[in-house]
Symmetry: C2
Subunit: 220 residues, 2 copies
DNA sequence: AAGCCGTTTTGATACACATCAAAAGATAGT
DNA sequence: ACTATCTTTTGATGTGTATCAAAACGGCTT
């Protein structure tokens, strides 16, 4: 948090994130239809969120990692409208939304922060629509991998190595393609020497090439 | 607005929506990259928002009508990240975001309202990802038409008649398909007697059939 | 009313991805 | 270590939608 607060302020702000919660791999943090009470800040671990069609088809709507906030979908109806599943053992801060709102009124910086988080999610989903609606399968996977390393790198992990926490099927669902197509795209990139794949480990050997796949007219 | 304010309050709240702005058909309300200052509440008219790939491909991210808010994308970076174009002559209320934030701190109902609007947009985009990622072209168009009449009906328009404000190409961009495919789906529905199409006029003759196309296992 | 332009429709063909199928490889339990 | 199960890879085939092309239609200008 960029601004300095006095001790009293800090104590109040701490209250909002006081309680923590552990979620084991495979467990739900919340599910579609459940009453909404709190946002969750991920401390450690990795989540996926997803929505479903009535006939059971799942669409992964996002993958979230440490430092990211989940649960924003629940605000509008006071009910969650998606499922959040831990893809590895995780710890979250439970932030009762009533507290968040109360403190936001008191601390403009926090208010601004909350607004930015929600806006960021809207912008992210805009770009996902662009991705799913306009790109072909290999472009989607390349964009996905670049996004993932970039976020991991921002958290102090390697700039060129990923250990995927999700299956091919989950990647496919997120990107609007079938698991076989995901696998084929991985193999193709691997054959071309752009990446190195061993199960869920992915090494990025040629990042510029990946970027070029996403944006063929590499005019940046 | 559901809650009652005293006169002084109303005056202050009015300030936030004091200035109005007219946008002619085809004109931009804001464009990608432009500094973000205000949200816009649509009073009359019809807008589309879109993002673009570097190579010029456009993805329509939404169609907005009276009563809806646009500009939320700009909050996170203080820059707009999409374009908003009027599809018919329109009037908007300009709501400087600094005012919105200030008054939100003062009036919890307003704060709650702002949060819900942002959350609603997040949920809408989740369902768009599901639509584009999992459904076939005819299902997408059916869902699109149902969504449109529902929103129009909520504004006092017909439950079964639409005058489209957007071209086949714009519909296609929004739904992740080509304009020819949109046209073919329209023709198919028309042949089947589900809808009546004459240019941009669409009459819905058999709403249940449309719903069944979206959700084949009509278990609701 | 004639001519021009952009939009929409319709047809023929091509291709990207889905689907179906099976083998190979990992992972877990006994 | 060995079987059972799940995940991933790879191949063969099918299909939905894109692409290419041209005609039909409607709106606008003069």
């Amino acid at each position: 948090m960029p601004i300095s607060f006095d001790k009293e302020d800090m104590k109040r702000l701490d209250e909002v994130v006081a309680t923590r919660h552990h979620v084991k791999q495979g467990e739900l943090l919340f599910r579609d239809g459940e009453p909404f009470k709190s946002l969750f800040a991920i401390r450690t671990g990795f989540f996926k969120t997803s929505v479903s069609t009535p006939d059971g088809h799942e669409q992964v709507t996002g993958f979230q990692m440490a430092g990211e906030i989940i649960g924003l979908d629940g605000i509008v109806t006071d009910q969650h409208s998606c499922n959040a599943v831990a893809l590895e053992d995780a710890e979250v801060c439970v932030m009762p939304f009533a507290n968040v709102e109360e403190l936001s009124r008191e601390f403009p910086v926090l208010q601004r922060h909350v607004h930015k988080i929600m806006s960021r999610e809207i912008v992210r989903e805009n770009s996902m629509m662009l991705l799913i609606g306009n790109m072909r399968s290999e472009e989607r996977l390349a964009a996905f991998l670049l996004n993932l390393v970039q976020r991991l790198h921002a958290r102090g992990f390697s700039q060129s190595e990923i250990v995927l926490r999700m299956s091919r099927e989950e990647i496919g669902s997120y990107l609007g393609m079938k698991l076989e197509t995901v696998s084929r795209a991985f193999s193709k990139f691997s054959d071309e020497g752009i990446i190195e794949v061993k199960q869920r480990y992915v090494g990025i050997l040629n990042a510029p090439a990946l970027k070029k796949i996403v944006n063929p007219t590499g005019c940046v």
